[in-house]
């Protein structure tokens, strides 16, 4: 519980909120107090720690192969941008709470994430299964579902993803409904058909 939230600076408030988010949900009073504080730019919303988690997860979900991966395609910055400018404040804060819980889940010691590449991959794969096969309904798993969705969107609508990894055809000019797949070679970047 935060006593007198209106007496804290916004930075102190976000820090205090972050500290307790593991065990409580955001109360309307806290949300109101956050709004009241004449907030600094929303770009300060995401901490460096949270950014590292997002960066790591993006890279695991869509790694570099023979084509750029999510990180090279600017997906972490895209996710930042969405959190700040497209998600509601409530959604963004819940997402960030879930992301921190996600990172904590992977620890064996007081390290914030598993340390080897294969451990990290298996840790995220496990969460992916729980979130998307088992459809677990916790803040952590909802945040993961959001994160994965944003990673896919951010990558496949990026210039690298759309034009290098997939088949990019902005003005086809005609419709050919029955062609050899080998003459196209990859899936259409457009979600329309």
């Amino acid at each position: 519980m935060i006593a007198n939230p209106s007496k804290l600076s916004r930075r102190q408030l976000i820090h205090a909120v972050g500290a307790i988010l593991a065990t409580t949900t955001l109360s309307p009073g806290i949300l109101a107090a956050i709004d009241q504080q004449n907030p600094p730019p929303k770009s300060r919303l995401i901490t460096r720690y949270q950014r590292r988690i997002i960066h790591t997860c993006c890279d695991l979900i869509l790694p570099e192969t023979s084509t750029p991966g999510a990180v090279a395609a600017g997906v972490p910055d895209f996710i930042d941008h969405i959190l700040v400018n497209y998600y509601s404040m409530e959604h963004a804060l819940q997402f960030l709470q879930g992301i921190e819980q996600l990172a904590q889940m992977g620890t064996h010691s007081d390290q914030w994430m598993p340390s080897t590449d294969s451990e990290r991959f298996n840790w995220l794969l496990q969460i992916d299964r729980e979130a998307l096969r088992d459809k677990k309904q916790t803040t952590l798993h909802q945040a993961y579902r959001d994160l994965k969705g944003l990673t896919l969107v951010g990558y496949y609508t990026s210039q690298q993803g759309a034009t290098q990894e997939l088949h990019w055809d902005p003005v086809p000019g005609a419709y050919r409904g029955d062609v050899d797949y080998s003459s196209v070679g990859s899936a259409s970047a457009s979600t329309r058909s």
């Binding site: 994965k148 000019g173 080998s182």
Partner: protein
């Protein structure tokens, strides 16, 4: 008071209003088009037409705060994205009241929803025009197919409709440009479909896109469809029919058109002494200044519910219940098409086939139930729209898988999947209606519309059959893993709302006569969806176009004979 005067006023610049403007102007009438929303100029205002997805910082996503604050209803529409958000009405600024759930999906700008529509165009037949008489629901249409046939020819030729001559009695063929081809999966399914269902048809969708423009299309500046299937962003090629690409330029070319935007119609003014509408009172959306425009004839094409609202708000001593409402039926017999769901399934053994380009239309399965007589436990019927396609990266948004394996999988398209969604006819019912709120008004002092539409017995009886027959059809056509699709349909959800000012022969039970002319007010014509006496199951816009062109022809002849 300054009361500018015209030969004709058209209220609304959408599918119907654009046609009224063109036809009136081409017959030499000085015509004023009043559009309640801002202008949306062809090409110049199609901001995202050539945008790459990465050009939008949100990649097509809409801010959650904006979505919930300004578009709580519009967001229910499946095609709503940042690319076209500004063509959807701002719900917060234009509220209405849902007495029962009703999705009123609107576009308030030049062109109305003609800049957002799905472009599917099918004729009604006498199966539809006879329906009310046959089963007694609603009042008999005062017209039959033969009254509209030449007008369908006329509007199809001008609009440019891609389609096939299919020879189906209850889905009459039209004046067509070359059809859009079926793709590999659809062609593969067709023989099995025909074998399993010899009396049913699976045809190319008929769409208002220029597969091969004629000279009168290119003269208007229209170009062939480029098969991007992003029509709802606005098409700078003018390749699909909209007021912007087609009817308004034609109207403007006559020199007889005056278009005023931000002009919200409060009421049509009735001159009791002359026994006619004398003009239209408008309030400016931005300045709130009021102006009365006068005209000899008025075409009310404000869309189904917009028209109802204007009529109900046009109150006078002579018409205390709304203009032209001596029957008491204005606002009643509202209908929609039930878009409750359908089915999807996979088409096997075609992984080496793909497509290039993106089609604005796929397949159509016309109604096949209750054709000669009622054989089902419900009246009337439904048709299906659909297509086959190979899923791309967004198929994995909600499924498991990460890493190199995910990326490798998404590098290739998914197997072919066919989806069909049904559109079911809704019966006219007196208590499915819209009225004006007694308590609440909008920013311009106009009472809010209260919409009260419910599904009734026949709709509930039909619903499961739509989905069951979709599943059955796909299964018997050889598709695998066929699953039903259940959409969270609410009335209004197909964006085919109709009724509220229906045509009929009897002035005591209808609003309009066989010429879309008000029974009560001879110089008032209504040709949008509100005029429909029944819905059929076909997309209605083509019928609005044909009725509008036909009604203008009649109105101008009557005007010139001094009878209006």
């Amino acid at each position: 008071m300054n009361s500018p005067s015209f030969d004709a006023i058209v209220i609304g610049s959408g599918i119907s209003g654009g046609w009224a403007a063109k036809e009136l102007c081409e017959r030499g009438l000085k015509t004023l088009v009043l559009e309640r929303g801002p202008d949306l100029q062809h090409v110049q205002d199609y901001t995202y037409d050539f945008a790459n997805p990465w050009d939008l910082d949100g990649r097509g996503m809409i801010s959650e705060d904006i979505r919930s604050r300004d578009y709580p209803v519009q967001q229910r529409c499946g095609v709503f994205t940042e690319y076209n958000r500004e063509r959807f009405v701002n719900d917060r600024l234009h509220p209405y009241i849902e007495k029962h759930p009703f999705d009123w999906i609107r576009g308030y700008q030049t062109g109305g929803r003609s800049v957002l529509w799905g472009r599917q165009t099918y004729r009604f037949s006498d199966l539809d025009f006879n329906a009310n008489k046959t089963d007694g629901h609603g009042t008999d249409w005062p017209i039959r197919y033969r009254d509209l046939a030449e007008w369908y020819d006329y509007v199809e030729a001008f609009a440019g409709i891609a389609g096939n001559t299919d020879g189906i009695d209850h889905l009459p063929d039209g004046v067509f440009l070359p059809p859009i081809e079926l793709n590999a999966a659809e062609k593969a399914v067709l023989p099995q479909f025909k074998k399993a269902f010899p009396d049913r048809h699976l045809i190319s969708a008929r769409v208002a896109n220029l597969t091969q423009p004629k000279s009168h299309h290119t003269e208007l500046g229209r170009n062939p469809c480029q098969f991007r299937n992003q029509c709802h962003r606005g098409c700078s090629f003018g390749a699909y029919f909209s007021s912007q690409s087609a009817t308004l330029p034609a109207a403007r070319n006559t020199g007889n058109l005056t278009q005023v935007n931000n002009a919200i119609v409060k009421e049509i003014v009735y001159d009791a002494e002359m026994g006619r509408a004398s003009g239209v009172r408008v309030i400016d959306r931005l300045t709130h200044q009021e102006t009365v425009y006068q005209a000899r004839i008025v075409f009310l094409c404000a869309s189904t519910l917009g028209t109802v609202q204007v009529l109900l708000n046009s109150v006078s001593d002579h018409f205390p219940n709304g203009l032209g409402n001596s029957s008491g039926t204005v606002g009643r017999y509202l209908m929609d098409h039930m878009m409750v769901g359908g089915a999807s399934g996979y088409v096997p053994n075609l992984d080496d086939r793909y497509y290039t380009g993106r089609r604005p239309g796929g397949i159509y399965i016309p109604r096949f139930v209750n054709l000669q007589k009622q054989t089902e436990p419900y009246l009337r019927g439904f048709g299906f729209q659909g297509s086959a396609s190979r899923g791309t990266w967004n198929r994995r948004l909600n499924t498991e898988g990460i890493g190199k394996a995910l990326k490798a999988e998404l590098h290739n398209p998914a197997p072919w999947k066919m989806t069909i969604i049904g559109f079911g006819e809704m019966l006219p019912h007196a208590d499915n209606r819209a009225t004006l709120s007694r308590e609440k008004r909008d920013e311009w002092g106009i009472p809010l519309l209260e919409v009260d539409v419910q599904l009734r017995d026949n709709e509930r009886a039909m619903q499961p059959h739509i989905i069951d027959s979709a599943v059955d059809m796909l299964k018997q056509s050889g598709l695998q893993n066929v699953t039903p699709i259940s959409l969270n349909y609410r009335p209004g959800g197909s964006i085919h709302e109709m009724g509220g000012a229906r045509m009929g022969s009897d002035a005591s039970t209808s609003v309009l006569n066989r010429h879309n002319q008000s029974h009560d007010v001879r110089n008032l014509f209504i040709t949008d969806g509100s005029s429909m006496a029944s819905t059929g199951c076909q997309n209605p816009s083509l019928t609005y176009m044909a009725m509008t062109a036909r009604a203008v022809d009649y109105a101008v002849k009557e005007l010139k004979q001094g009878r209006l």
